[in-house]
Every structure is written in structure tokens, then in C-alpha cells.
Amino acid sequence: MLPSCARNINKPTISCKKVLQLINGTKNNYATEVKCETKPYKLHKLDTPPSASTTLSREDALKYYREMQVVRRMEASANNLYKTKLIRGFCHLYSGQEAVAVGIKAALRSHDAVITAYRDHGWAYLMGASVVEVLTELTGRKSGCARGKGGSMHMYTDNFYGGNGIVGAQVPLGAGIAFALKYKGTDGVCFALYGDGAANQGQVFETYNMAKLWNLPCIFVCENNGYGMGTSAQRAAANTAFYTRGDYVPGLWVDGMDVVTVREAARYAIDYCKSGKGPLVIEAATYRYFGHSMSDPGTSYRTREEIQEVRQKRDPITHFQELTTNAGLLSENEIKEINADVKKEVDEATEISKTDSSIGLDELATDIYANNLEPQIRNTTPFNPLTHNRLGKAVNLE
């Protein structure tokens, strides 16, 4: 049986109509933009849905396609690096879920913030870390976005408050970030992402309450990929309509495999929040191809057929590729070029991730406290303390 997330999704439809707005004289006579229908939404305590159609520009199409490809390839590379033991520890891949992050990112303004759980490699990249910074973080090297000290679950960039290893713990932080954005008088919003499993944590509900009570510009995004480790959403949640679980917080269900639909939902949510109406819950129906983490083959609690079916019928990248090429927005050749280009970029980064050096041991006692009131950290014997260092100011503080 397919999990609810996959079942709820309609059959893919190519819904872009070529707009008769061709550029004269450009080499392939591609459309500069097309009109797209979005996938149907489901609403909870909302009067109007996001618009049923939108335009997709050629430039954006190139960007989204490329971004999704990078995330996909980067994860494939992480998978290989893990198998050769160059990545150790716990490593969770985002493959299958690319459209959620790329779609939301497409709607973000420079002053909006994001916080997510441990499935964060794609987000780190989209929020500004390079492929090298992501892969070297994974292999624990000094070019990593957290200097190799965070690893897979802990990546950070500007306005990206990180991956978080403790399931659900990032959600209240998201409300705090949203509060600060509002307090500072910006119209920024915070996207706080969590999984269908995390949706059952008590602190998520505590946060809904605070966010609504104070009308915070916080957009809760439940990425429903059908499973929390080996437990399907139906087995873990009394109500699997995650977009309704904020009760008094309005909600929106979106097809998380369609990048344009996600983008529209995110734009809608940003408009909603910045107008002072308070928080929203978005449920993005999606799917993860790999097991929960590298130690889970991912096939004991779901069938291979189920995974294959989603790969064939719902894959966000293939779907977007078909949509854009059928609509005459991108050519097969361009797609090939991007693929080759991305492959090259990821391959090169992978090499660096194998050869880059790691930070020195002095950083064991670096950045434990904010300021070194005591310049030394007690060592395991009292007479040889470690020097407590700071690398510099945190990026999130002015």
C-alpha cells in the first residue's frame, strides 16, 4: 500500500501551455515564459487558495532544473562517499524531496529565514553553501560549511539556521526566529521544516500555539515523505492530514513533487504571513528514495515496487523536465548540458572532499562558549588545560 503522501497525489499532468511570446531571432525560438497550472491544493481554514495558474520564466526553469539536479547528484555522491567510509556517522539523503526545497527557495526573499531537520544537505546548498562546502562538511574537512565540526546533520549558512539532529527541536526555534524578524520590523518570515514523524512531537503543538497566539510570521512546513524511519505516517499519526494539525493555524496541502506548485504555495504563504495574519502550516506531500539514513536499506517497511512507482511516475526532476521541454521552454540539449555541467561540478567537489585536510586539534576546545571569561577549558586532568579559542563572530549575530 502506498503511504498517504503518495496516494494523495494526482497523476502527473503536463500543464504548461506555451505562451505565444517567442523571442524573435534567438537561436532556438524558445518561449521566454509559459503559463503553468498548479496542482490542486487542499485548504484548512483558509478562504482562498493560491492561484491555480502562474507563469514560469525560462530563466527560472533553468535555475530550478539545475538546482534540483545538483541536489540529486550531490546526494548520490554522498551515498558513494558513505559507502567508501569517507563519510562516517549518520547521513540522511534528500533524494526525491528536491522540489520542496527548490520550490520554497524560489519564493524566498533575501531576508527570509529557514530552519530544518537533519535532512539538510540540499537546503544548505540552496541557501548558499557550495557543493564543495557541503561535501567537505560531510567528509569532516576544513572547507566544510561548519569546518567539518558539524557533519551531515549540522550545516549552516546565512539565514539558514541549520540542520537539527533532534527530531522536532527545530520547530520552536523557527517560531523564535519568526518573532525576531517581526520584532525587528522586517517583513521577513521563517520557514520551519519538519517531517511527518516529527509532526507528532509535543513541542510542535506548543509552537503552533505560541505562533498563533502572537501571530508570528512562521510557516511550518511538514514534509510528508510517508515515513518516520520505519514507521509509516498512518501508523504514527491519528490524523495524517498534517496541514490540518495546527487546528487554529490555517493550513495548505501541496503536491511537494511539483516545484512550481510548491513555489506558488510558498509565495502565497509569504504574502499571508507578511500581512500580519500569523502562521500557516503547509503539508508538502513528497517521498524519499533512499532509506531513512545510510544504515537503513529502506526496503523492510515498504516495497521496492512502491519506490519504483514513485520514481517512475512522480519524480520531481523528470516531471519538471517533461513539463519544461514539452512546453518548449527548455530544449533536450539544454537539459543534457545542465546535466553534464552539474555532474562535472559535483565530481570535482567530490574529489576535493576526499583530499581536503581536516582542521587542527586545537579546535577541539574552540567555540564552546561565547567569550572566554576563563581563557582555558578544564582538561581531563587539572594541570594541563586546553586553550579556549573563538574563531570569530557567529554569522547570525550582527
Partner: protein, 369 residues
């Protein structure tokens, strides 16, 4: 052995500037300990690793106690570490079941079930994830009996959680939180060092009329194999195990670290002719002050070693008691070799751990004091 430039000496001196690559070389080493199996008692035994021994204890519990329940995240499929494998098949979905991902709820639920008479065995997937349930454990479970004047209790609750270093667990799959719980009257806390202890301690905890926490060093689940008594038995909670007798220095550890100390004792003998007495504390709360003090009064020197950070680690409590009880017998200050006062590091795990070399140096220093 401890040449001037050996890595352990460098670390101890706080000379932490490594040349590039040094860190990585060490990372590629294998496990940081060798396993010292416990001698099986007489009677019929079965070869088991630690997860099998735990599974066996749960199986016995479910079979012999109709009220027993086993639950937690993914336990229906056997759990992340296979400890509950096949139990749902055998005992049904109403006795062995998955919970949603909500630790506070899981323990609260377990307290309620235990308070109304069900033997409740809750699994927290990793000890690092026990903190959402900290309030339920510390404020509810531990104080139920006291605050009701003895009318109510949740003594039938047992919590299991995998703890400790695994070689690559980083910040949230490596912690050893025993000291947080040792600070909580009303709880019992134990840590097995292998399959025999794991089975016996779990059975004893399940039957103990107090809420108990079993912290299981996750690196031992597969790595530790012993001949485990096949039948039903218990292991005394609160009793330490003097595994190796010696006369010069007492080494105290628990869980995986016990095995490190066994190797340290062997090295100390070979390299310096020092005779070490090695104690597995087994039980953190309550802990066996008598056994520890008898040993320290004999040797006059003691090293306590644990993976958790130094400050307020459980070693601090032991050291304080030793100086109270054995002051006039001590030949040297009590030594502690532990994890550093840093978060459990991702790439620095081999340096963070209280390795045999760091411990060996401490043993030497105790003698040379």
C-alpha cells in the same frame, strides 16, 4: 611506551596542534577497545551478542509476565539495534508496539501504564533523545512514590536507551547521560558491559519495584559476544564487580570503558609491572561504595574513567566519596580520565575518548606521585 611525542602525550600536555592528516590517520583506526568477555556461570548457556541477550530478556519477560508491554519508536520491527526483533510476531501488537515519535509522551505513557499495574518496558531510540522525556523521568517517574506518600508508584517502568561512543556517532548518537540521572533520587540507573550483564540487569530492572533506566553501550550490541545463561536470572542492582584483582591501583569504569580499563591493566602490568584491580561499577544509582572503598583501601590509588565529560561526570561523585571514606589510605589524589568538557565531537572522537593511552599515563602518574 609513552615516548615524548606519542599522540597521547601531546594531547595530555594540551599541545593540540596536529599536523594535517594526523587526525585522519587516527580516525581510520578500529574500535578503541578490545572486548573482555565475562566468564559464564555454570549451567546451560547460549552464545549471544548483546542485542540478542536483551531480546532474550524481553522475550522471557513477555512470556512470564502477562502484564508486560514493550514499546518505543520502531520497536515493532525490531528497533534500530534489533533488540526487539520478532517480539511483536510472538506476542502480538497489543503488547509490543510502535509509538509515534514523541519521547515525552512515550515515557509519560509508560509511567501511566506502570502505575496502573502493567510491566512497562519503554525504549528510547538513543540516549541522546531521552532529553525530551527528561521531565517525565525526573519529575514524574522518580517522584511518584514519594509525593503520594507511598500510595502510588510506577516501579514497573523500565526504560532502555542505547548510549556511548560508536566510532562515528558525533554529537547526537554518542552521549553518555548517566550522571544527569544519577542526580535523581527515586530512579535506578545501570549500565551493562556485555551480554550476560545486559540480560541479568534488564530482568532485574524490569522486576525491581522502582523505575529503572538501563543505558546500553550501543557499540557492544554486536561487538560483544558471550556465553549467556539460557534461563531466567537476575543481576544485583547496586553491586559492583571486581573483575580483576590487583594490589597497586584500582581502576573503575562501566560499560565500554570497563573494557578499555582491562586493557590498561594488562599494559600497566607488561610495561611497568604495575598490578591493577579492575572494577566494573555495573550500577550507577545506587552504586557500590563498599566494594570501591575496600579496593581503594587496599591499593591506595584509584583511577576513575568514563566517556562522559569530566565536570559533574559520575566520576566526580565517586572521587568525592573516596576521599571521604579512604582519605588516610590514599597514596595519590584520585585520578579521573574522561571525555573532555566539550560537546561530543564529530571529527575528534578518537581524541575525545578516554583511551587506553590516556588511562595508562594516569596509572603511571598515580604510581609516580
Amino acid at each position: 611506551m609513552l615516548q615524548k611525542n606519542s599522540i597521547c602525550v601531546k594531547i595530555l600536555k594540551g599541545v593540540l596542534k596536529s599536523k594535517d592528516g594526523e587526525c585522519r590517520k587516527i580516525l581510520r583506526r578500529n574500535a578503541h577497545f578490545s572486548f573482555y568477555p565475562e566468564k559464564p556461570p555454570s549451567g546451560s548457556t547460549t552464545k549471544m551478542n548483546m542485542f540478542q541477550a536483551i531480546n532474550n530478556a524481553l522475550d522471557i519477560t513477555l512470556r512470564t509476565d502477562e502484564s508486560a508491554l514493550v514499546f518505543g519508536e520502531d520497536v515493532a520491527f525490531g528497533g534500530v539495534f534489533r533488540c526487539t526483533v520478532d517480539l511483536q510476531k510472538k506476542y502480538g501488537k497489543s503488547r509490543v508496539f510502535n509509538t509515534p515519535l514523541c519521547e515525552q509522551g512515550i515515557i509519560g505513557f509508560g509511567i501511566g501504564a506502570a502505575a496502573s499495574g502493567a510491566t512497562s518496558v519503554a525504549e528510547i531510540q538513543f540516549a541522546d533523545y531521552i532529553f525530551p522525556a527528561f521531565d517525565q523521568i525526573v519529575n514524574e517517574a522518580a517522584k511518584y512514590r514519594y509525593r503520594s506518600g507511598g500510595e502510588f508508584n510506577c516501579g514497573r517502568l523500565t526504560i532502555r536507551a542505547p548510549c556511548g561512543a560508536v566510532g562515528h556517532g558525533a554529537l547526537y548518537h554518542s552521549q553518555s547521560p548517566e550522571a544527569y540521572f544519577a542526580h535523581t533520587p527515586g530512579l535506578k540507573v545501570v549500565i551493562p558491559r556485555g551480554p550476560i550483564k545486559a540480560k541479568g540487569l534488564l530482568l532485574s530492572c524490569i522486576r525491581d519495584p522502582n523505575p529503572c533506566l538501563v543505558l546500553e553501550p550501543k557499540i557492544l550490541y554486536r561487538a560483544a559476544v558471550e556465553e549467556v545463561p539460557s534461563g531466567d536470572y537476575g543481576t544485583l542492582i547496586g553491586k559492583a564487580d571486581v573483575v580483576q584483582e590487583g594490589k597497586d591501583v584500582t581502576l573503575i569504569g562501566w560499560g565500554t570503558q570497563f573494557h578499555v580499563l582491562m586493557e590498561v591493566a594488562q599494559l600497566a602490568k607488561e610495561k611497568f609491572g604495575i598490578s591493577c584491580e579492575v572494577i566494573d561499577l555495573v550500577s550507577i544509582l545506587p552504586w557500590d561504595l563498599d566494594t570501591v572503598c575496600n579496593s581503594v583501601k587496599k591499593t591506595g590509588r584509584v583511577l576513575i574513567s568514563h566517556e562522559a565529560p569530566l565536570t559533574s561526570g559520575f566520576g566526580a561523585e565517586i572521587a568525592a566519596c573516596i576521599q571521604e571514606e579512604c582519605f588516610l589510605h590514599l597514596q595519590a589524589p584520585v585520578a579521573r580520565i574522561t571525555g573532555f568538557d566539550t560537546p561530543f565531537p564529530h571529527i575528534f572522537e578518537p581524541f575525545y575518548l578516554p583511551t587506553k593511552w590516556r588511562c595508562l599515563e594516569a596509572v603511571k602518574n598515580l604510581i609516580d606521585y
